[in-house]
Amino acid sequence: MTTAEVFTRLYYYCTVQMRLSADEFWTMLFGLFMDLWACHKQFLEIEKPLHQQTIDEIIPNTI
């Protein structure tokens, strides 16, 4: 994917899907934008939040 295509897609996600303005998209911190896009996908249940499992979750206490 070219740089132009990547940023056109991100612009679409931000303005159409997330309803933010063009100015907000271009002046937003890149990491913050990626965070908001991840929140959007998680809210719509397209993705699930990263959950780090602990050993206690894998091996029950009863064992």
Binding site: T27, M34, K48
Partner: protein, 131 residues
């Protein structure tokens, strides 16, 4: 405008403090110049001569310092500030401070791309790419 100060770095250019911000606009400009963001570090480190490294640093400093001015101008349309030019930055910076400029650029990029929200799918894809 959504900006968090802990995700930027500050630098002194010609006696004035500027905030370096890695916005989406700056990320696009960097990605276009270096083909991919991963190539940036390599290009800076492997810059064959000092002059080339300095040119890249001046370009990055101008780009990221101008982001904070652009944000300011959007909020203060009645009294906008002038954007920095590469020529001005080159004149106002000293090659002796190259290390501190590199540090500020790295810090701004590191903080600007830092993530607080990650999806399980993203992490799995990242792990596949790393493997």
């Amino acid at each position: 405008m959504i900006i968090e100060n802990e995700r930027s770095s500050f630098i002194n250019i010609g006696g004035e403090q500027y905030e370096l911000i890695l916005t989406t606009k700056a990320t696009k400009a960097i990605a276009s110049r270096y083909d991919e963001l991963e190539n940036l570090g390599e290009r800076l480190m492997k810059a064959e001569n000092f002059e080339m490294a300095l040119d890249e640093i001046v370009w990055l400093l101008t780009l990221m310092a101008n982001q904070s001015i652009l944000i300011y101008n959007l909020k203060h349309k009645d009294a906008p500030k002038e954007l920095l030019t590469e020529e001005e930055v080159e004149l106002l910076t000293s090659p002796l401070e190259l290390v501190s400029y590199k540090k500020a650029i790295t810090e701004a990029m590191f903080k600007g791309t830092a993530r607080n929200v990650v999806s399980a799918e993203e992490e799995a894809s990242k792990n596949t790419q790393d493997a």
